[in-house]
């Protein structure tokens, strides 16, 4: 294992001009006017990424995750600190940003490859697989300005993933393209993982991080608040999200709800596959509140097994201790340990009021013969 990215004490400060004087006349007439506000987008970030690692960078909008990524890719200069990078790096910041609409797809493949830092010879070698992956063979000699937006994105992605980078940086690009193409991209990312490359993956979609990443780094307001195994970091991310929701509430009403514990009648979270289960969620509230209850069950590998619909499960909390009972009529899961997250969200389902990530772990035992995740009760016979 070798370290491929080492981020040391990175800070980034933006100067925000409230009145922009960009013409000569304005600069001369008002040399000092227009207030300038200094905004710290990143403050003292430290972490490193090894080969073979897939690291998720999570945080909500404005947390600085894209700024950090741009610094790593060299698009932005940090205000202070250093980033050390080893090996070739391909960044999917905005697909097709380097395309020249007047040139043909073929010319653009070479130009884009050069922009990503790859030689003409290398692009020659991968040209066919790029065209293959992008599925636009018959239009490769057409000017790019005549492409549909989907073709545009497919071609750009195809170049970036085929140029054989040691480090792949992905910034929410998976949000574009149709579902089939997204699946293809995720597939390609998995191949990358299998080949032992490093991937830095930025998103605010916790499910994607859970599904792809070994490790996650959480940013909030330009500060790094967590760096650890994915489920550990996501717990902090969720709980922090709740924290900031409270700060934004002016009534002070919501600041006082906490989920204390989960208990079962037997005291244990063991269950046989196929059996039902009941547990109580203990919630302390300082005031009356009615919101929706959310239940999530994940595999240890981070696959979402089930999420209850927040809108269908209202609870009315009274001041003091509350107990919410959860009945799982039948658990068809196979052998394994499953993590339970519970939370309260506001009635519209937009804001997390209280959250408990990894509130309990359910151990399921199964002695049937099916393999996989769930028992479907399959019986096979010839007709």
């Amino acid at each position: 294992m070798a370290t491929v990215i080492k981020v040391e004490g990175i800070s980034k400060t933006f100067k925000i001009h409230h009145e922009r004087h960009q013409s000569l006349k304005e600069r001369l007439l008002h040399p000092r006017s227009g207030s300038t506000e200094v905004f710290d987008a990143l403050a003292d970030i430290n972490f490193s990424v090894d080969t073979n690692e897939t690291v998720g960078l999570v945080g909500h909008n404005g947390s600085g995750k894209s700024t950090l990524l741009k610094c790593i890719c060299g698009v932005l200069q940090p205000t202070s600190g250093q980033i050390h990078i080893r090996g070739s790096l391909a960044a999917l910041l905005e697909l097709g940003a380097g395309f020249q609409p007047e040139l043909s797809g073929r010319d653009n493949v070479y130009l884009y490859g050069a922009m990503l830092g790859f030689s003409k010879k290398m692009v020659d070698g991968i040209f066919d697989s790029v065209v293959d992956f992008s599925e636009i063979e018959q239009f490769i000699d057409t000017q790019v300005k005549f492409y549909s937006s989907g073709m545009y994105v497919r071609l750009a992605f195809a170049v970036a993933v085929n140029v054989d980078p040691d480090i792949l940086v992905v910034d929410e690009v998976l949000a574009v393209g149709d579902e089939r193409f997204q699946a293809k991209c995720i597939d390609r990312i998995r191949t990358f993982q299998d080949e032992g490359r490093s991937i830095l993956f930025v998103t605010h979609n916790a499910d994607q991080v859970r599904a792809i990443c070994d490790r996650a780094i959480v940013l909030d307001g330009g500060h790094m608040i967590a760096d650890g195994p994915t489920h550990e970091s996501l717990r902090i991310f969720r709980e922090h999200l709740m924290g900031s929701a409270q700060e934004h509430d002016h009534s002070g009403l919501l600041a006082s709800i906490s989920i204390d514990s989960l208990t079962t009648p037997s005291g244990a979270f063991h269950v046989r596959s196929g059996a039902g289960m009941h547990f109580d969620v203990h919630i302390t509230s300082q005031s009356a509140y009615s919101g929706n209850f959310v239940l999530e069950i994940f595999t240890r590998k981070g696959l979402l097994v089930s999420r209850s619909d927040a809108k269908g499960s209202p609870v009315n909390l009274t001041p003091g201790q509350n107990v919410v009972g959860v009945d799982l009529a039948q658990i068809p899961l196979l052998d394994g340990i499953y993590d339970v997250n519970v939370g309260i969200v506001d009635p519209r389902g937009n804001t997390v009021i209280a959250w408990r990530e990894g509130a309990a772990s359910i151990q399921v035992t199964y002695d049937g013969r099916e393999g996989g995740l769930v028992e479907l009760g399959a019986s096979i016979r010839q007709q």
């Binding site: 491929v4 073979n52 202070s80 010319d107 130009l111 922009m115 040691d166």
Partner: protein
Amino acid sequence: MSDGSSARVERRSLEDDAFRIVSARDSLLTRLRNLWNRRELLSSLIRSDIRIKYKNSALGIVWSMLTPTLFLAIYWLVFAKFLKNGIPNFVVYLFAGMIVWNMFNTSLSTATGVIVVRSGLVKKVSFPREILALANVGAATFYFFIQVLVFGLYLLVVGHAPDYAYFWLLPLAFLALYFFTAALAIVMSAVTVYMRDMEHFILIILQLWFFMSPIVYSYEHSIAPQLHAHGLAWLYFLNPITLIMLTFQRTFYVSTVVHSTVPTVVGGHVFPLINVLPSWPMSTYFYLDIALLAIMIVVFLVAEVLFGRLQGNFESEL
């Protein structure tokens, strides 16, 4: 799920690779090394620049010969025929100055706005930003050589022999021109990010600069006597383009003293002698050119440093 694929294949080990460092301010040496490492991008951009420029025009690359030739014809008509400047073989004289000027003019008028124009790229893709401006200079260099070709053909056709003894000075003069043009181009491209007026302003400056350079008139004949009288000849040479043009003109036009094509009014039918070019020995040209080249390399390095300072705030201005 990636369950089945847990056995990961170890790729080429990166342990022996050196770290690249991204920091607040890179040293000049690092920036020059980065530029050198991305030379393939530079040539890609130059090629796409040239291709895009003539993509949808019927005459294509012919325009890069046609436009200068038409300008040449106009200047010849105005200065040799209407204003009667008296310089014989004026087209050759004009041509030698114009190829130098076109390179400078084309580079600066395209490079000045290039970072603003390509801001989408600057904000999304990592590469040394000055490469955008250098690509414009590179494209202009390409047109320069095409025009040199046309010039050579013209000389063949009219049977005008250049002074081959001076040929070896041309690379020196050209390199000085290249470094000076590149230096101005990258600085202007960065300044324009902060002051958008520069894009318009530069066109006026270039227009002035054209007439401050010995292209359509002779320095030695029209400017030197007055300046020498006041001891100000050095002033004219503050313009680095001047010396470069004189070197080209000396090589291609050859004659320093010629008979004017316009007879004097008083004597009638007497064609007086005029000094078209300075009558320096070759060694003077050499010393001046080599000194200019050295200065221009320093100017280019200073421009690189300046660009490095200016690019720090690009993202909040674009």
